[in-house]
């Protein structure tokens, strides 16, 4: 029944991917910006956690660092958007790609410079290595399960925010028609900055959790970006739950591939599934875009 274990692990991994994907999708939805630095920014948040955990005289469980990292990344996201990205948001795709690609390069290399290219890991406490035993051959790690639950909670909260709150409505209005939103009294510069802050905040949760779960290094950003992107496309743009589904499908594809062909094939199997879905149903599985 090992393949069942692979599937379950894949589903749980999907939760992690969803945490990365949601931010990418949110930014794209709100301001049509494809943030190529998104993956690297989540890696940055992992290193921020490393600093917080490592620097204090008290070495505490990295899970407690999550709220602090979230706040730091929210502020960083807001500043980045307001200070730089707001100037290129309305200027078309090319500038967005170039600038965010540039940011990606800068972050990747700055992290390499500051922390060396070596792999690191956030300290593992007791919780992280424990698992729930379901049967003789089936055990689910606590950590992956917590990550998945977190992903579900985050997405549910985000949906609530979008649908029930004043600012969430503003997000959706800006996403629909930014000029009309401005005419209604919405400060789009501020909204965009908040959106980026939220995107990085959510990404930080994923970033720290991933740093606890496995090793990380400065060059990981590209992979995270690609997995986030694939999750969004598989699940369908415009749908948060779709992103979770996309992440899950990607995770399952990767882990089944690893199980069947060996760990070196995991990523490639994920890509293959992505390609198939893109070819057959390019709008994604749960696509939900409205045209007026």
């Amino acid at each position: 029944m090992e393949w069942v274990s692979a599937i379950i692990q894949g589903i749980l991994l999907g939760g992690l991917y969803a945490l990365f994907a949601v931010g990418l999708s949110l930014v794209f939805g709100t301001m049509r910006l494809t943030n190529l630095a998104h993956g690297d920014l989540t890696v940055l948040s992992t290193y921020v956690a490393l600093i917080i955990v490592g620097s204090g005289a008290v070495r505490f469980n990295p899970l407690y660092s999550i709220p602090i990292v979230m706040v730091i990344m929210w502020v960083l996201g807001y500043a980045l958007q307001r200070g730089l990205l707001n100037f290129i948001v309305q200027k078309g795709d090319v500038q967005g790609v170039i600038v965010t690609f540039g940011i990606s390069i800068v972050i990747m290399n700055a992290l390499q410079e500051a922390f060396t290219p070596n792999s690191q890991r956030l300290p593992v406490g007791e919780l992280e290595s424990r698992s729930i035993t379901i049967s003789d051959q089936l055990a689910i790690g606590w950590l992956p399960l917590i990550i998945f639950i977190l992903a579900v909670v985050v997405i549910a909260v985000l949906q609530l925010f979008m649908n029930q709150t004043k600012m969430g409505r503003a997000f959706r209005a800006v996403s629909d028609d930014q000029e009309a939103a401005r005419l209604m009294g919405i400060n789009t510069k501020h909204i965009w900055a908040v959106a980026m802050g939220v995107a990085l905040l959510i990404g930080a949760i994923g970033g720290v959790m991933m740093g606890i779960r496995t090793t990380f290094h400065p060059m990981l950003g590209s992979d995270r970006l690609i997995f986030a992107f694939e999750a969004v496309i598989i699940g369908g743009m415009g749908s948060s739950w779709g992103t979770l589904l996309g992440g899950v499908i990607l995770g399952v594809a990767q882990l089944l591939g690893s199980f069947a062909f060996g760990p070196a094939w995991a990523t490639l199997c994920g890509h293959v599934v992505f390609v198939v879905i893109l070819a057959l149903r390019p709008q994604g599985l749960l696509a939900k875009t409205v045209t007026a």
């Binding site: 004043k166 409505r169 503003a170 959706r172 209005a173 996403s175 629909d176 028609d177 000029e179 009309a180 939103a181 401005r182 005419l183 209604m184 009294g185 919405i186 400060n187 789009t188 409205v290 045209t291 007026a292």
Partner: protein
């Protein structure tokens, strides 16, 4: 002190000059109509007042205060609200949510969502419908209602009758008195001259970026207006 004043306003689109040294004064309580052919500059003036465009020369004064460099959202705070050309309702939001967005800046005043539904009863059954699924006339009513939710002192309407059946247009104009009563001055831009002249208290006829004719409709003959509209002298 006039509610809105444009002094020597010149507006450019890149190298193209759309407004030439415009002088316009609008008093509180007026229904001020701007008419003219396509490209005459009427919408440009409206966008300048709303804050979408910035004049290269001249000033825009609201209640005597210059507002030229205020972004649109600050102008909404001051009491300038827009019903944009093409309605521009938020397609993925419901009718009710569109109205709520109108009230984003929390300006104090008499308008509430209930008030809007009273004014435009056709919207009541559509409360939970996504705005994308509305007809032209329904969207127009929604756009106006949305603008009212900002409790404006000046409401800017850009071609509200475009593409609508006469019956619908009439219903929209019938709502004007209620707008005035709530303390709102109306600045309306129209290509359809006939209908708007029945409600306007003042009219300005635009021609190639300038005002060719101004006055109360009762004082102007239709020959004068036609001549000013088409630039035939």
């Amino acid at each position: 002190m006039s509610l809105l004043q444009l002094e020597g306003v010149s507006v450019y689109y890149e190298d193209f000059q759309a407004l030439y040294d415009l002088d316009v004064t609008i008093e509180e309580g007026e229904i001020f109509a701007c008419i003219g052919a396509n490209g005459a500059g009427k919408s440009t003036m409206l966008k300048t007042v709303a804050g979408v465009l910035t004049p290269k020369r001249g000033r825009v004064l609201f209640d005597g205060q210059p507002i030229d460099h205020l972004p649109p959202y600050k102008r909404v705070e001051l009491g300038i609200s827009s019903v944009p050309e093409g309605r521009r309702v938020f397609p993925s939001l419901t009718v009710h949510e569109n109205l709520l967005i109108g009230g984003y800046r929390n300006r104090k005043g008499s308008w509430t969502t209930d008030g809007v539904y009273d004014l435009f009863p056709l919207l009541q059954p559509l409360k939970k419908r996504q705005a994308a699924g509305l007809s032209g006339g329904e969207q127009q009513a929604l756009a106006i209602g949305r603008a009212l939710m900002a409790n404006p002192r000046l409401i800017l309407m850009d071609e509200v009758s475009l593409g609508l059946a006469p019956v619908v247009i009439k219903r929209i104009y019938e709502a004007f008195p209620a707008l005035l009563k709530s303390g709102c001055t109306i600045l309306v831009v129209e290509q359809d001259v006939q209908h708007v002249l029945t409600v306007a208290t003042h009219v300005a006829c635009f021609l190639e970026g300038r005002i060719a004719l101004q006055g109360a409709p009762s004082e102007l003959t239709s020959e004068q207006i036609t001549a000013a509209y088409f630039g035939v002298y």
